[in-house]
Amino acid sequence: MAITDHKLTPVLIGIHLVALPMYSRLPPYILLPIAVLTLWSLLIIASRARQPKAWLRIVLAFVVIVALLASYGTVFGQEPGTAMLLMLSFLKLFEMKARRDVLLVIFVGYFLVATHFFHSQSPWIAAYVFVVVIYLTSLLIVFSDRLASTDFKTRMKMSARMVLQAIPLMLVLFVLFPRIQGPLWSLPDDAKSATTGVGDENVAGQHQRSDQLERGGFQGAVQGRAACAQRPVLARSGAVPLRRQNLAA
């Protein structure tokens, strides 16, 4: 099944709906490519142009990796991983050949909405995710409706009904499913990190992000003359937002 342009627009909207709560915290080097990719795919949809050639898609993939490295210094971990999945979803829009490509993007969307809960578990974000799940499910309907005989309203209704019907089972499992105290394995370094701090080793540029955060990772009142001697070392590392009143003490 060839993916026609008019069917790509809802998918593009879907990815943006998924990503909306992330936009406030994504670094500019990630937001910029996302904006460019969005405009580009809109252009392709509007002008019925062909999807970019394979070599161009490879170049785009490299640009994405570079953007990730420039922003996070790595592609692994919770934040860079989320950003990467998001950008790859946008890239996939340029390579839609069969239905399974679209389904993959929708599944990644389901996964990405879950990552919002790392940052907030407020009722608002829960309600938002619920709505996005209904929208993503309506996309599943778009791509299994082979004669394109359903309209947006019908699909949203069907989708909402199905998601609502899923709630009883969710409640049962939510109550009965055993919880494990502590992590499944001892690995998730990022479970409580992803904020700021000083590691055991000092590598140049490692602490660059710390001073971007408003709430300090480490604050200490430095007392006495001896402490003052340490100042240049800490200042070079850039890890500690030194405040004048601390030093004055």
């Binding site: 996964f111 790392f118 309907i141 409706d145 004669l147 899923a166 009883p168 969710m170 502590g182 992590p183």
Partner: protein, 329 residues
């Protein structure tokens, strides 16, 4: 889809139902006469490859929720699990409960494809979307069946040999509403089509023929004299319809000619005297087609069968049917 297609191949294995162990399958898939309702025992369902990927996604989400101990992560995971469950039932219900009846089929010549129609009746109120009909591993048509309505789904079967062609088992399947599951059924509605012999490329009537044909003075179409119009009667050749008059008066009339009788021709098995009965039937089929096209009066003689000379669609069909079924009792 490899799993599904292997399952498909499994169910299409021709000898499958002859083995006593699998008689229960035969009982479910037919052949049936009349209306068949797709009930529990006839609708199968399995996840598609996308469905398996969805399951993998659920596992990932579960592990993530457990690992980071996020309550809302669990909520989302279980909602999606519930959604998968709802979709499973929705896909199944999209097919189950349909009522099937055989539709018609038109006769074809051997070597062509025989078209069959299945009537899908939806007794429920909701539309059943995107139901595909397939035969021999090929998909032919996708239809929507609206609530309390009937839709026709068509498929084709290669008509290799003359005679009666059994449509055999066909497949109805649907992935609606999510593409995560595929529900399908195999049904044989004992549909048949008449297959005429494959016409020979060309065939000649031997010059000297039996009695009557020789007595008839040879008359070309150009020798006939226009004699007037009369009302169309079933069996008249469409070639003689006076379309200009029909367009003017809205009455179906045909032109009549003096010189009266159209040329008479016996298409005779004996006279052809060809080696091989199939080749002979092919040649006779060609002669019947040509004679009908030329608007001649023609009769058919097969061993044990004789059809009096006449012309028109009904006669044409009768002759071809006799040729198609020759030798079958």
């Amino acid at each position: 889809m490899s799993f599904i297609s292997s399952a498909r191949a499994f169910f299409q294995w021709p000898d499958f139902t002859r083995k006593p162990v699998f008689k229960f399958i035969a009982k479910r898939t037919g052949p049936f006469n009349g209306t068949v309702t797709l009930d529990r025992s006839r609708v199968y369902i399995l996840p598609t490859r996308a469905g398996l990927v969805f399951l993998l996604l659920l596992l990932l989400l579960l592990v993530g929720s457990l690992n980071y101990n996020k309550s809302l992560g669990f909520v989302l995971t279980f909602i999606l699990l519930g959604l998968g469950n709802v979709i499973l039932f929705a896909t199944w219900k999209n097919l189950a409960g349909l009522r099937l009846r055989a539709g018609g089929s038109l006769p074809v010549f051997a070597g062509e494809k025989a078209g069959f129609a299945v009537q899908l009746e939806n007794p429920g109120a909701h539309t059943r979307y995107s139901i595909a009909v397939g035969h021999q591993g090929r998909e032919y048509e996708v239809v929507d069946v609206h609530g309390e309505a009937v839709a026709l789904a068509h498929f084709q079967v290669d008509a290799a040999r003359r005679g009666i062609l059994q449509a055999g088992r066909f497949r109805l399947s649907t992935e609606f509403p999510a593409g995560l599951f595929v529900a399908w059924t195999w049904i044989d509605l004992s549909m048949q089509s008449l297959v005429y012999p494959r016409p020979a490329l060309s065939a000649e009537i031997p010059v000297s023929t039996s009695g009557e044909a020789g007595d008839q003075p040879m008359q070309g179409a150009g020798m006939e004299e226009y004699a007037g119009l009369r009302k169309y009667q079933p069996g008249d050749s469409w070639r003689r319809v006076a379309w200009k008059v029909v367009a003017r008066t809205d009455e179906l009339v045909i032109r009549q000619y003096h010189g009266g009788q159209p040329q008479l021709q016996w298409i005779d098995w004996q006279a052809l005297a060809m080696s091989g009965s199939e080749a002979c039937l092919s040649a006779m089929t060609r002669l019947v087609i040509d004679a009908e096209a030329a608007g001649r009066n023609y009769g058919l003689r097969l061993p044990g069968v004789e059809i009096e000379p006449a012309y028109g669609r009904t006669h044409y069909g009768r002759c071809l049917k006799a040729l198609a079924l020759y030798g079958d009792n």
